[in-house]
């Protein structure tokens, strides 16, 4: 069953065609890789998908419904959560607080609830806290719950971003280079974590430069180059695609 479908998504920045009629579809429960040379438009696709940019043309269908001119917060509410290529945690909040913020969209307490703090608000607040802590355990950094997020190691910050994204209860988790800057051990740990997340029924859209990780993990891969999708399919198949080799290594070698 199709979870996300992109149809002819186009995005221009002035004269630059960052996304050129990109179409792809993600099946529920799969890990879908998005690869391509630097500047190919991968992150732009993420930004358009999550509502940070508006697309010039084309549309997304998520869970059978159209995402129309959707604001980022509404995208999160529909069930798409993301992480960022250059980690964007709330640096001066603790790890636990970061994840608690992720619960915002699934909770309701307003000003009056916060001020009166009735039993319903207290229960909700307890739920937020315990769920956030569980998620920290889930990604394996519960021991740093009360540490400032900006003081975590690089790999742990990436994990924290994933925990924060999971706190919004996403159906689709969009990860922008989660292994960037990680050493081999950390990457292996990440791979295990992503497999567990997929096992729990979350579909994953993954931008990654670590070829080994992509080949091992992804069910299907799409390759972007200069904003165009040049290949799609199983990782091994894409790996041998002449167009992909040319995009990565240049025309001379191909």
């Amino acid at each position: 069953m199709t979870l996300l479908e992109a149809r002819h998504v186009t995005k221009r920045f002035g004269g630059l065609l960052a996304l050129d009629e990109v179409s792809l579809s993600l099946q529920k429960g799969e890990i879908y890789g998005l690869i391509g040379p630097n500047g190919a438009g991968k992150t732009t696709l993420f930004n358009v998908l999550t509502g940070l940019y508006s697309s010039d043309n084309g549309e997304f269908f998520f869970n059978g419904e159209k995402l129309i001119a959707t604001k980022p917060h509404a995208v999160a509410e529909r069930g798409i959560a993301r992480t960022f290529q250059n980690i964007r945690l709330f640096g001066n909040m603790s790890a636990l607080e970061n994840v608690m913020v992720g619960r915002h969209v699934r909770t309701r307490a307003g000003v009056i609830g916060a001020v009166l703090r009735g039993s319903r608000t207290r229960e909700e607040e307890d739920g937020i806290r315990s769920r956030a802590f569980t998620l920290l355990q889930y990604v394996g950094i519960a021991e740093y719950a009360n540490n400032l997020s900006s003081h975590l190691s690089y790999g742990d910050q990436r994990r924290l971003e994933i925990a924060r994204a999971l706190a919004t209860e996403p159906k689709l988790l969009a990860l922008d280079e989660p292994a960037a800057g990680m050493n081999a051990t950390e990457t292996a740990g990440l791979k295990k974590l992503l497999e567990i997340i997929r096992g729990d029924g979350v579909t994953i859209l993954l931008i990654e430069h670590d070829v080994k990780l992509v080949m091992d993990l992804c069910d299907r891969v799409a390759v972007l180059d200069y904003g165009k999708k040049i290949a799609e399919g199983a990782p091994q198949q894409v790996q041998r695609d002449p167009a992909v080799i040319e995009a990565y290594l240049g025309g001379v070698l191909a």
Partner: protein, 367 residues
């Protein structure tokens, strides 16, 4: 934090401290009256009033990180609303209990109105636009005496009804249990009650889903959006809450003074309130309270420099009025130099200014 937890674990000490503070606050005006002078009771009243204002601004600047240089506009709107609806100017005399929530509500709307166009702005640009709003309100108040006289222009509004509940007027001296409660004493207890209420609301908001969303917006707006926070609404909420505190403060100010004019609502007033928030420690409620106490009381205390010089040198060498502002400015600079995060910084702000050195780093363990 640790001291707080110690207190929590020792309920007896906590109760003792609580009762001590309660008694102190209850007798404070009489202490000031006998030990210092009646004018100090008035100064304490103003301290309380400014705590309400500063805590309102703290929501906008401290929690949500939106630098607002036009906060006094809300103070002005609250004050004028009270003045126009409870004075002979229009011949309307609404009761205080109706005016207070009305003032909070109307300034709330003004907060949203002034906040809405600034949503896309941050930092310096936001500061400039809010500064403009503050001036616009003041200039309106100054000029809305023609063609229809609404605000009475620069002359201001006079003979504003004093605060009263039923038949109990706060402006008269009342005798209760053989103790005389003068006007400033009555207002002290009213302001104290409202200040405690505002502190309570601030604390509850800070430690809530809404409070976390404000901090998230301050820390990283893009990430906050992507995590499902409707940043437009959450910022407008901060403006509205902050403004309503300002509006309540304005209403109290009008009733307390009995006279207001646009001169009370100049830019310097906005800056002073911002100074109180920043000096005490942005985002920390106790810090803001301390900042207000110092910035209201210090200039008053420095008035004693004249007599002090007289006693020390036999004559006044430097005019105390000049020296007063000099020392005041110097004190501000020194505090900011030696405690850049404020006197009592919030935990997050402290981390922000301390940088990496002071906090324990656990990264080695995890890597």
């Amino acid at each position: 934090m640790s001291r707080w937890e110690k207190l929590k674990r020792n309920p007896r000490a906590a109760w003792a401290a609580f009762i001590l503070i309660a008694v102190l606050l209850a007798v404070l005006p009489f202490l000031a009256d006998t030990l210092l002078s009646r004018s100090w009771v008035r100064i304490i009243d103003f301290v309380l009033l400014y705590i309400i204002l500063a805590l309102g601004l703290n929501i906008v600047v401290g929690f949500a990180g939106l630098l607002d240089l036009g906060y006094v506009a809300f103070f002005a709107v609250g004050a004028y609303l009270y003045a126009l609806l409870a004075s002979p100017h229009f011949g309307i005399h609404l009761p205080f209990w109706a005016l207070l929530p009305l003032g909070a509500g109307v300034t709330c709307i003004f907060g949203v109105l002034l906040g809405a166009p600034t949503l896309r702005l941050r930092g310096d640009y936001l500061a400039i636009v809010t500064l403009g709003f503050g001036e616009i309100i003041r200039i309106f108040l100054n000029n809305l005496n023609a063609p229809i006289n609404i605000t009475n222009g620069p002359q201001g509004v006079n003979k504003i009804d004093p605060v009263s509940f039923g038949g109990f007027s706060f402006n008269q001296t009342h005798q209760f249990l053989g103790v005389n409660f003068a006007s400033v004493h009555n207002y002290y207890y009213l302001f104290l009650a409202l200040t405690l209420l505002v502190i309570f609301i601030s604390m509850r908001l800070q430690d809530s889903r809404i409070g976390r969303a404000w901090v998230a917006v301050r820390e990283d707006e893009v990430a906050a959006k992507a995590m499902g926070i409707n940043t437009r609404n959450i910022k407008l909420l901060a403006f509205a809450m902050g403004a309503s505190f300002g509006g309540v403060g304005g209403g109290l100010f009008a009733g307390f003074q009995g006279f207001i004019s646009p001169e009370s609502f100049t830019l310097i007033e906005s800056i002073m309130i911002l100074c109180m928030v920043v000096l005490g420690g942005m985002g920390n409620i106790a810090g803001v309270v301390l900042g207000v106490v110092l910035l209201v009381a210090l200039p008053e205390a420095l008035r004693y420099i004249g007599p002090f010089e007289q006693a020390l040198f036999g004559r006044v060498i430097v005019d105390p009025a000049d020296l007063r502002m000099l020392i005041f400015g110097l004190a501000l600079i020194l505090v900011m130099l030696f405690r850049p995060a404020g006197l009592l910084p919030s935990t997050t702000r402290k981390r922000e200014f301390a940088g990496e050195e002071e906090m324990p780093v656990n990264s080695e363990v995890s890597a």
